[in-house]
Symmetry: C2
Subunit: 117 residues, 2 copies
Amino acid sequence: MKVITADAVPFQPVVTEGAQGAFIKELITDRDGAPTFAMRLFEILPGGNTPLHSHPWEHEVFILSGRGELRGETQMHPFSAGDAVFVPPNETHTFVNTGETPLRLLCMIPVQQSCCR
Amino acid sequence: MKVITADAVPFQPVVTEGAQGAFIKELITDRDGAPTFAMRLFEILPGGNTPLHSHPWEHEVFILSGRGELRGETQMHPFSAGDAVFVPPNETHTFVNTGETPLRLLCMIPVQQSCCR
């Protein structure tokens, strides 16, 4: 068992094409022995966004602070701190910070996936 | 895709033997189509705790508010808001609220497991 202080883990820029003002830190991954899924923390600056893309794995997200919009091809869902977000496999999506403060969210994915997608 | 407002989901008492002052709400489960893992939110009142137990699946936890201790058979790790916690499969563990305010934490588990363990 282990406790990881998120503030002690540095952010890295999200370099995936289409990302703007988005940063990631990995908190729990398969390198910690996690057998099923990984936990990452994202910060998205005001006006920033994660890439608009889709992939064969799901996202489970919890909004820690700030507010924004989950945008798909035909849907838009506003969210704010305290909301959970489920993006099923193969649905096009982007998280956009529409607020005036940094948007922080936890994002979990299956461990067999690349860390930053 | 969907957004779930955690405040709109009612807490249920954790009825597992050994739990005290612990409540759970499920935010994302296989009933939402989640294929790999589930997201639950726990509240543990001051002095309360989750059961001291072990099981063949892992926990990945993020502390949303409050503070407490992760206790195992031979280890004790204090934690507070902003910490992530990894409990590997088959490690005995309990989460104890040692603070003066409610302890709130997200706890993710593989979907094939029972909701409240």
